[in-house]
Symmetry: C2
Subunit: 306 residues, 2 copies
């Protein structure tokens, strides 16, 4: 038996940690290169300040992983992956504004408007939103253009009033209300966090040329991890310290926000998050070992501490 045959018979266990580190550094480099400095420097600095502020880069990594799951590669997916992080960053910059959530810290650093002023922060968000579409449409290579256009449509929809903008609207409207239902809370999460996560995963599949049934499975997976992600976020807001989170802890309680722990209790929230992750993983079992990265990422989401 040759060593290559042996490798086929006993596939190595998938190691998430080196995988994440490797992908994170690829994504960091790609983001840095995607948005070089230009005139007027002030706005590019502001955009780069938030875009390159670190973070787990889960969204672009999901895009690359789902593209690879369906036979594509990271090069095909990278511009779309970067666009996902641009949209995510844009939503954080605008959410942190005084007129919205009024946050001073994000990922352990001052928020964009605290450094560059409110006017620049609004414009930096606008710039990143527009650039996400320019960049994915222009810089994607080796992918048929019908897929690129389909991904643009999907991401634009996830970013707008039917997606994360709509989720933020209902979130703001629900603040301080004592009678927010579980249904409304699910709407907020499915849109404010879920829509973009779903778009990350599905667009990776679109770029790879996935069939409708593949995209359907990826969408199911993503919706489930999206909700789990948000439940964990609610839990961490209560259990983690500000230092661990890199942002103010306990903000939800202060703002009298409806959260899963508040509506369901801590234990039931934990149980539900784990159930969602389990369902998410199951929906990709059909792909066998190729699904390991996405399945490990689903687990990672419920065990994270920040």
């Amino acid at each position: 038996m040759t060593s290559s045959q042996k490798a086929t018979l006993t596939p190595p266990t998938f190691e998430l940690k080196p995988y994440l580190l490797d992908r994170q550094s690829q994504v960091e480099a790609a983001l840095d290169a995607a948005l070089p400095m230009a005139y007027p420097e002030h706005i590019y600095e502001s955009m780069r300040y938030s875009l390159l502020a670190g973070g787990k880069r889960l969204r672009p990594i999901l895009t690359i992983a789902s593209c690879e799951l369906l036979g594509g590669n990271s090069q095909m997916a990278m511009a779309t992956a970067c666009a996902m992080e641009m949209i995510h960053t844009m939503s954080l910059i605008h959410d942190d504004l005084p007129a919205m959530d009024n946050d001073d810290y994000r990922r352990g650093k001052l928020t964009n408007h605290k450094v560059y002023g409110e006017d620049m922060a609004i414009l930096a968000g606008d710039g990143l939103l527009a650039y996400a579409f320019e960049y994915m449409a222009r810089a994607t290579t080796g992918v048929p253009i019908d897929r690129i256009l389909q991904a643009v449509i999907h991401l634009a929809k996830a970013s707008g009033a039917g997606g994360l903008v709509g989720g933020q609207v209902v979130d703001l409207q629900s603040e301080g209300k004592p009678d927010v239902t579980l249904e409304t809370l699910a709407y907020i999460h499915a849109h404010k966090t879920g829509a973009l996560l779903e778009s990350c995963v599905v667009c990776g599949g679109i770029i790879a040329g996935g069939a409708p049934v593949d995209l359907q499975r990826l969408s199911q997976y993503a919706q489930n991890i999206g909700l789990a992600f948000q439940i964990i976020d609610d839990i961490l807001d209560i259990t983690a310290t500000s230092e661990e989170l890199g942002k103010s802890a306990g903000k939800d309680l202060q703002a009298e926000k409806a959260t899963y722990p508040k509506l369901l209790g801590m234990e039931e929230s934990q149980r539900r998050a784990q159930e969602l992750v389990s369902t998410a993983k199951d929906s990709l079992n059909v792909y066998g070992a190729a699904a390991q990265p996405l399945q490990a990422l689903a687990d990672f989401i419920t065990t994270r501490r920040n």
Copy 2:
């Protein structure tokens, strides 16, 4: 001689007024249909409030006219034309915010944040920006997708930090400075107003399948009317009343903004605007009578009173 032969020999003079009225009502109907109400209603109301607040609809009309110039039709161009107005509206909503130009009135109506609050106004702008790309990419019919993708790239570039966002940044930075040069002023106008006008005209040409030389001519035409448009805007800010403008007159003087009348004098500004319009019209002479709508639109821009 039949009447049809007679018509060929003496082409009717192009009448701008009925043309504008006809196109305006087409565009109004298309915009209304493009953005129907949905949940969460509050954000759709806010987006529709500004998108359907009237105005001359010059930008979408330019898109349709340049598409027709190169053999396309209004149906092919309409979704892109609507996207142009969505981006324009988004930039007005965000520019009017207290953190930016702090305007209470726009087109004779309260600005978006005065009606819906700052948080909704920021989100309405974000929603319109994202929807512009979704809508043009999804709702354009009868056009090869490579053209649609090319138009998406062009519009996204014009909307971002290299376009209107960049123009607004330099405009804000120049406010109150006594030493703003003509070069900086030209940059502001070429980006804050010019980039989107150019995109309107060029994307109409892209949708029609124009050759590079056609797009080059359209770009020249658009850059010239764009600058003329802004010079006239500066002049009207001084000469027109708030009632005529539908917004606060004299804002530029109050804000100590650099303007063409201030840097060049009123007479020279007028002369320069007319020269730009004349050059713009000349660049389309090669198309003969087919260029009449775009040429008449160029004249309209310098004779407008609001």
